[in-house]
Point group: C2
Chain length 338, copies 2
Amino acid sequence: MASMTVSMKDVATAAGVSLGTVSNVLNRPDRVSPGTREKVEQAMAALGFVRNESARSLRAGRTRALAYVMLDAGNPYFTDVARGIESAAEAAGLSLFLSNSDSRVEREKRHLEHLEQQRVQGVLITPVVPDSALLDVIAARGTPLVIVDRIREGDQFCSVAVDDLLGGRLAVEHLIDRGHRRVAFVGGPLSIGQVGDRLTGARAAWQDAGLVDEDLTVLSTDALTVAAGRSAGERLAGLPARRRPTAAFCANDLLALGLLQQATSAGLRIPHDLAIVGYDDIEFAAAAAVPLTSVRQPRQELGRAAAELVLDEGDNPAHRHQQVVFTPELVARSSTLG
Amino acid sequence: MASMTVSMKDVATAAGVSLGTVSNVLNRPDRVSPGTREKVEQAMAALGFVRNESARSLRAGRTRALAYVMLDAGNPYFTDVARGIESAAEAAGLSLFLSNSDSRVEREKRHLEHLEQQRVQGVLITPVVPDSALLDVIAARGTPLVIVDRIREGDQFCSVAVDDLLGGRLAVEHLIDRGHRRVAFVGGPLSIGQVGDRLTGARAAWQDAGLVDEDLTVLSTDALTVAAGRSAGERLAGLPARRRPTAAFCANDLLALGLLQQATSAGLRIPHDLAIVGYDDIEFAAAAAVPLTSVRQPRQELGRAAAELVLDEGDNPAHRHQQVVFTPELVARSSTLG
DNA sequence: TTGTACGCGTTATCAT
DNA sequence: ATGATAACGCGTACAA
């Protein structure tokens, strides 16, 4: 109905007090006598007064909000990270704006521009391309910015990530322990830092075990999705059994699930014919028909730590940029333990 | 570095023009001569000017943004709906604020209050409790509000949903066609409208086929999650084979995946010992080791339609509230076709 | 074509 | 304890 908007001035008039008093009721209730406070509060309720956040932000110079630009909202990994961020934001009395770049640079750019215009207190982002110049521009202009899930060297900003070299190592050491001597690394594009690091860690473990490079083959994929996993599964299942790797280490769980599904439907038994290790340990990993061995990352903690870093950068003049690295953990399940 | 913020006034000074001219360059570029425009644009670039959205919104009386309050950001179903909303928002030149109530009323309330304070142009919401009075209050105060995934009768607001009665019917008719005569409905809490409707549709199909009520048992769950599905699976697998239903219709895919996993690990073969139908057809449904038969909902279209309704309500004085109902579709896969 | 001035709703400072 | 008033940055009507 009433498209008319109620302002503090209207409340003041209705309550028969001045504008300043209404403001005091809202912001320093102790500075106003119980009687007038009561009057004002009743007027607010009667008129349906709603604070105008735009005006507050304008006055304050910044919004009471944080923002997280997700790389892929469809990936439960990132929604878990977002949960961690939100819990920290809530504790700080801030709201959280979520947006989704969907791995596309132009969408990411659009979101970042919007957020800068909103004057959010801080931006958390899992960037499509971590060394995008836009990030530096934003940070240079004064918006606290933290990179999530990716380490960037240099002192330009803070970042939080999980040790992907170690994660790759854990996965492959586990496979070697289980007796595998021909392993495929499934993932891509390799230009994605996480993917490259996981592969590097995998190779290091392989070499440390004295195995030859050729037996750790790389099956490169276009994307880290279930569909890409399926197509990798086709390629793998198409190989003659003698040359086929006995195990696959996938750069994330979505790939692993796609691979698992395709391999199963091609008649391979998991883990007997093909063992599979995923990465991220999303909830669906444990729920797969063959529960998936995976490298678990402390997602919520990652998000919380990131949020605390932006907040510190915004509030603490003595803030120093830092790189926080969490430690992953292997969770062994049926897909390798048959 | 520079925590100093650049305003249009600064740009005007730097470019040697007046504030109004800078504004014109931004909002009506045609009303300004190429020469001065050039000067102003260079000044903006040099100073790193970023428009202040708070000031714009204050002036305009509303934000250039829509908001979607999701019921469960961890459920891919809702992120797909969000994608549809975003595409419509983008087409209208608006940004989209995503928030997640996580099925908790107090979180939903908090988000709604924030959004009202932001003066967003419209709120889309999949509510925890569809008849919450808060929704009416917000609508009454003038914020266009559309209910997503739930029909609410009465003319208070618009809503978009998928026909859950039909969906339940499709699922059970399919099972009857496949020869099943003892079926379990798995879902809950039944107080959730969608769940109740799907059950009602299922019962209708059951009765239409002349089957007796007792053979359509209800396995009630606490939540629509993978974990709840697993525990339902335990209960089901615990029944003696003679009494056990030969098929389960789950109120959503997460339940179905949990059930699938638990039943498999309890030694049941899918679909031979137990056929399973899910609901939503999320990507993981097709990717399960036994690909899941599911009832598909047009998620992106749902989101787009909802967004168009809020926009219409905001822009079109002749707007009339309406209830849009989409039609679901059964996608048959191995979990019932074995 | 360009400049001036006012108001959007809020907060904070300064008087009273 | 309360009231008056000046910003915050922007958009626009109006004047020049």
